[in-house]
């Protein structure tokens, strides 16, 4: 019997997802990652699936493939999100608003829905969603992004209640500004303004989030569900 932890990570080809996937690989876990593109991780214990997590059928087929390939999934880290320039509400197009909802909220719903089913059946699971400090900042220009991330928090708490009796926990890691390639598009002045609003006034490295995820992913964390772990306060 395979006793290695089996971890699924969405958005594993870059950014936070890439670091999380590598972190679990370094711990000896089997990792099933996904992204729309090809794999950027080459490791014996890593398997990549090219899917769009906003596409219902893609997600359903992915989970069915995972059941066949691994037979169980211990942890899912739902990390996919759209990082791009937003604008104030008055100049945000409906399409732009919907694209944030799709990439952040709908993808989280689809992935969590399918994984929660397998985890209920195996009577064990750890669902970890990635939030954002933006849901606390109420910063101008984040009407779509922050709203979608706030909705992920509420969704995670509802799901936590629904699956609590089946040994499945659902929690959120909510990072402050993370240093990723995607954030570069926002520019220095935006970064400085956002950091001013945070207690920790530096962008954090994605690797610094991994031990927070370890806490929720641990089998020992069975008494923790529906919780948010923020990396710092908003000033």
């Amino acid at each position: 019997m395979n006793t290695q932890m089996i971890i699924a990570v969405t958005g594993s080809s870059r950014g936070i997802g890439y670091e999380i996937a590598n972190h679990f690989l370094n711990q000896g876990c089997l990792v099933a990652g996904c992204s729309r593109g090809d794999s950027t991780i080459s490791h014996l214990n890593y398997r990549h699936y090219s899917i769009d997590v906003c596409d219902e059928m893609d997600v359903q087929l992915w989970i069915r493939a995972l059941r066949k390939d691994f037979n169980r999934i211990d942890v899912v880290v739902c990390n996919v999100g759209l990082v791009k320039l937003g604008s104030v509400t008055g100049s945000t197009s409906l399409n732009s608003f919907k694209s944030f909802l799709d990439s952040i909220l709908i993808s989280t719903f689809l992935v969590c829905r399918e994984f929660s089913k397998i985890m209920m059946l195996q009577r064990y699971g750890r669902i970890i969603n990635i939030g954002s400090i933006m849901s606390e900042m109420h910063a101008p220009g984040t009407c779509a992004y922050a709203s979608a991330k706030s909705a992920v928090i509420e969704f995670t708490k509802v799901l936590a209640r629904e699956v609590a009796d089946y040994g499945v926990t659902c929690n959120i890691v909510s990072p402050s500004m993370v240093k990723t390639d995607s954030n570069a598009v926002f520019g220095d002045s935006w970064e400085k303004a956002m950091l001013e609003m945070q207690t920790i006034k530096r962008p954090i490295d994605a690797t610094e989030l991994c031990h927070l995820i370890d806490f929720f992913a641990s089998p020992k964390s069975s008494i923790v569900t529906g919780q948010i772990l923020h990396t710092c306060l908003v000033n």
Partner: protein, 98 residues
């Protein structure tokens, strides 16, 4: 070609499996009117997820095609139905396999 007898046989087998594993506490003898979802169903949320997963897997294997149960599609077929019965689910699955 999948037909109602095959679908009923799959559903009955799933009910027997759920009973054998203690997920439901009484055996269900399937009829057209057996409630699968909604008032009168013997399936709680865990049993329902398990039942649908069993049925999807079995039918996908037989059909060599990925089949998923989408509740809103069944609601479209039976917009006024207060519950999902075995007959309705079988009808939906046969259509999904075509």
């Amino acid at each position: 070609m999948i037909d109602k007898d095959i679908v009923f046989s799959i559903m009955q087998k799933s009910f027997e499996g759920l009973y054998a594993s203690g997920i439901i506490d009484q055996i269900v003898d399937l009829t057209n009117e057996t409630a699968i979802f909604g008032s009168g169903s013997k399936l709680d949320s865990m049993a329902f997820v398990s039942f649908i997963t069993d049925v999807e897997d079995a039918i996908s294997t037989i059909q060599k095609k990925e089949i998923f149960v989408v509740l809103s599609d069944i609601e479209d077929l039976y917009p006024d139905a207060p519950i999902l019965t075995a007959d309705m689910l079988a009808h939906y699955l046969i259509l999904a396999c075509k």
